[in-house]
């Protein structure tokens, strides 16, 4: 027998198929099937063996599909969800690339607080205190022991109980105490961002991008792979383990291109929520503050926020700050003094008196830049990393859905918002081309599709007659309304990505 076609190998056989096949063979070799008792031993054996063979044809089909990463990326379960096991095997064994796992939305104690009244809340060990976002229903739990005294605002670190974007909350949205404390309120000053597990399509695309990293000559794919794989365990032999997690989530999209006038390579990257924060800045000086606190002054804005992480390299004198030096670590911002000054707690590390030089790779963007410089950029090549630019889009729409679904309008609004957010997160940097060549847009048709697919009960969507979408481009551009596609061009570059500008403009009406 010669090698069958792949299409035949991936086709499964039912028990009936196999029974008919076996009976055909039996007939050909002279067995008199007409004389077989329907409940006899012969038919029972054929039926039993056929059932087993049928099951094994499923295994053959899986084996055939799972032999290719590209095919495995398209495997779906009965419910339409990604089958991940085969691509995980291919990704790890064929490309040595691990799938990005879902992350929990969380914040440090500075991002969430509980304000008590005259009643003390008492002490809760980690895992004992629970709060919720009343809009989405997502719940969160404290990750460290906390004691709520009376008449105080007490900071408390929390983490979502379920990983993924469904547990993300904007600032000020976690306001419900699940663990009751009489007279107390709570709120989060920081946004909590969780990310979903990497899809098969995204994972496969990243695996193939890895091929560019094989060459020392640095094709564009090598740059993209470096930034998109930053969250993996020590992905490039640079960052320390345990795995370093970017505070804004993994870089999920990027593209690399050369400036046609200078040849400088720019990698534009973004995460699932939009822009990547941070910057790269030269150090002006380093000064001792008190205790174990030191202050770093930069010549240009450092782009750091409280709690953000950063690396220092090339600092003469204060060499204890340098990555790979005494500390060999990523620092965390203890205080932001102003846009050019941050403080850091160095613990037991000996910093040393500042002499000259040094660069701060600040925040997620700075770390992306650091990894690209350390692992990809060749001699005589200038490279930088730039964030995508978020373009806020607010659909001005009324969504009609079947009353029989039993859904409340708020629940439908949430589903629609999540569907649009998911659609936006999957678009490439700069959007897609519509019918006009070289155009870079977020198509209105795609937004309509995301709304309609949010829930089976949705029957139609009606946009405002004159103002379908409200668009807020990055400053200094002026917000505007549009009835059509939204351009993703920012400052003459295709670096825009859409983010949902707000849900209040979407209403849901049962019919």
């Amino acid at each position: 027998m010669s090698m069958p076609n792949l299409a035949d190998m991936v086709e499964t056989n039912t028990t009936t198929d196999v029974v008919n096949l076996l009976l055909g063979v039996a007939n050909n070799i002279g067995l008199s099937l007409s004389s077989w008792n329907p409940l006899g031993v012969g038919r029972a054996i054929v039926q039993s063996v056929s059932t087993i063979i049928s099951l094994y044809t499923n295994t053959v089909a899986d084996l055939a599909q799972g032999g290719y990463a590209s095919y495995a990326a398209q495997m779906r379960g009965a419910d339409g969800s990604d089958v991940t096991q085969w691509l995980d095997l291919r990704g790890q064994d064929q490309y040595n690339v691990l799938r990005r796992q879902a992350t929990y939305a969380s914040c440090a104690s500075t991002g969430f607080s509980v304000t008590t009244g005259t009643t003390a809340g008492g002490t809760f060990q980690a895992g004992q205190f629970h709060v919720a976002n009343p809009t989405t229903g997502a719940t969160y739990t404290n990750t460290a022991a906390v004691n709520f005294l009376a008449n105080q605002s007490t900071p408390c670190p929390i983490q979502a109980d379920v990983p993924g974007t469904a547990s993300s909350s904007g600032a000020g949205q976690i306001t419900q105490l699940v663990t009751p404390i009489a007279g107390a309120t709570c709120t989060n000053s920081a946004a909590l961002v969780g990310t979903n597990i990497e899809t098969n399509a995204g994972y496969f695309a990243r695996c193939v991008t890895k091929l560019g990293a094989i060459s020392t000559a640095g094709p564009a794919a090598a740059y993209d792979f470096a930034v998109q794989t930053l969250t993996q365990v020590d992905p490039a032999g640079v960052l320390p383990s345990p795995p370093y997690l970017l505070s804004g989530g993994a870089i999920t999209r990027s593209f690399t291109r050369a400036n046609t006038q200078t040849g400088v390579v720019t990698t534009v990257c973004g995460n699932s929520t939009g822009a990547v924060l941070g910057a790269v800045a030269s150090i002006l000086t380093v000064t001792f503050v008190s205790g174990t606190t030191w202050q770093i002054a930069t010549t240009t804005p450092h782009g750091l926020t409280l709690g953000a992480q950063f690396l220092v390299t090339g600092c003469v004198g204060s060499s204890g700050l340098n990555y790979g030096g005494t500390a060999a670590t990523v620092w965390t911002v203890a205080a932001v003094i102003d846009q050019n000054n941050v403080q850091v707690n160095v613990g037991a590390v000996g910093v040393g008196a500042y002499v000259s030089g040094g660069t701060v790779y600040g925040g997620d963007l700075g770390l992306c830049n650091f990894v690209v410089q350390a692992n990809v950029v060749g001699q005589c090549i200038l490279s930088t990393v730039q964030s995508i630019q978020a373009i806020a889009i607010s659909p001005m729409a009324t969504v009609y859905y079947k009353k029989a679904s039993g859904l409340l309008p708020g629940a439908v609004q949430t589903k629609v918002s999540n569907s649009i957010i998911s659609y936006f997160a999957g678009l490439p940097v700069g959007g897609v081309s519509d019918s006009t060549p070289d155009d870079s847009v977020t198509p209105l048709s795609g937004i309509i599709g995301a709304i309609m697919s949010a829930d089976p009960s949705i029957t139609s969507v009606v946009f405002s007659a004159t103002q379908a979408l409200y668009v807020v481009p990055p400053s200094p551009a002026t917000p505007y309304f549009t009835q059509g596609d939204v351009s993703m061009i920012v400052a003459s570059q295709p670096i825009g990505v859409p983010v949902l500008g707000g849900t209040s403009t979407i209403s849901a009406v049962p019919k």
Partner: protein
């Protein structure tokens, strides 16, 4: 199987019944082996070949044979190892033309500058070239046949009067491929038709709407990230745009302008470049 059967299945009917089972189980075992081997380029059935190319980040040319594609798949790591350097880029461009009757075309990559700095210490150009029909890989070799390298002094390749080392130009010499200079003129047979109506400035069986985007995608994928290719040039006269071409058959400092008289007079079609 017969040996394993109980005595009541050793009779004429029982043996036939077990033989039927054995055939099915044998076939199943064969299919396990086939399914396990189907992702190997040398063993894969024809409809599996495109999946392997996707896995290995390779594109297939419009007329590339299955055997050529399988060979390319076996060389995937050897090819990717050269992504970003002139050899890798030229091989990727040549592979688009695999399978055409006349063989692989001659191609050049002209670097605006001399990285070695011996022949042209003040700039100049460096020419990486594969001759028409030259093999890319010798049988059994893990390294490709390298392109020839020629260096010329400043002003020899004068695109626009400047010398920027990150720029390079791809030239495909079409006398050996299924592309040809236009044979029809603007306006015939209708006001908005040009040449044979398929692609600007080129005719022939490969001259279709997929040609330019395919070549541009390969150039973008296989060039160094910092390399800027202002144009991909299809040259219909191989005495032009060569290291030893006379000055009259080389850019004269005005070719950055599409309306340049000497550029318009050249036997070339100019596709948009990539960055």
């Amino acid at each position: 199987m017969q040996a394993l059967s109980p005595s009541w299945l050793q009779g004429p009917v029982g043996v036939r019944l077990m033989y039927t089972m054995a055939i099915a189980l044998d076939a199943l075992a064969d299919w396990y082996v086939y399914a396990s081997a189907a992702n190997c380029p040398s063993q894969a059935p024809p409809d599996a070949v495109p999946w392997i190319s996707q896995d290995r980040g390779l594109s297939t040319g419009p007329q590339q044979s299955s055997a050529s594609t399988r060979r390319q798949q076996q060389l995937w790591l050897d090819l990717w190892k050269r992504a970003g350097n002139p050899t890798g880029l030229l091989l990727a461009i040549r592979s688009y033309f695999y399978g055409i009757a006349s063989g692989s075309p001659a191609v050049s990559l002209i670097l605006d500058g001399d990285p070695v700095g011996t022949a042209a210490p003040n700039g100049g150009s460096t020419w990486y070239q594969y001759a028409a029909g030259a093999p890319d890989f010798l049988a059994g070799a893990q390294d490709p046949v390298p392109p020839s390298v020629e260096r010329r002094g400043l002003g020899h390749w004068n695109w626009d009067g400047t010398n920027q080392c990150f720029r390079s130009w791809l030239v495909i010499y079409a006398d050996n491929v299924t592309l040809a200079a236009p044979t029809k003129t603007w306006g015939a047979p209708n006001p908005w038709n040009y040449d044979d109506g398929t692609i600007w400035g080129i005719s022939g069986t490969l001259a279709n709407a997929a040609l330019a985007p395919s070549l541009q995608a390969r150039a973008r994928q296989w060039k160094a990230a910092n390399a800027v290719i202002p144009n991909i040039i299809i040259c219909f006269d191989n005495t032009w745009l060569q290291p030893d071409s006379p000055t009259a058959k080389l850019p004269n400092g005005t070719w950055n302008n599409p309306a340049s008289i000497t550029r318009l007079a050249s036997p070339c079609a100019f596709l948009d470049g990539v960055a």
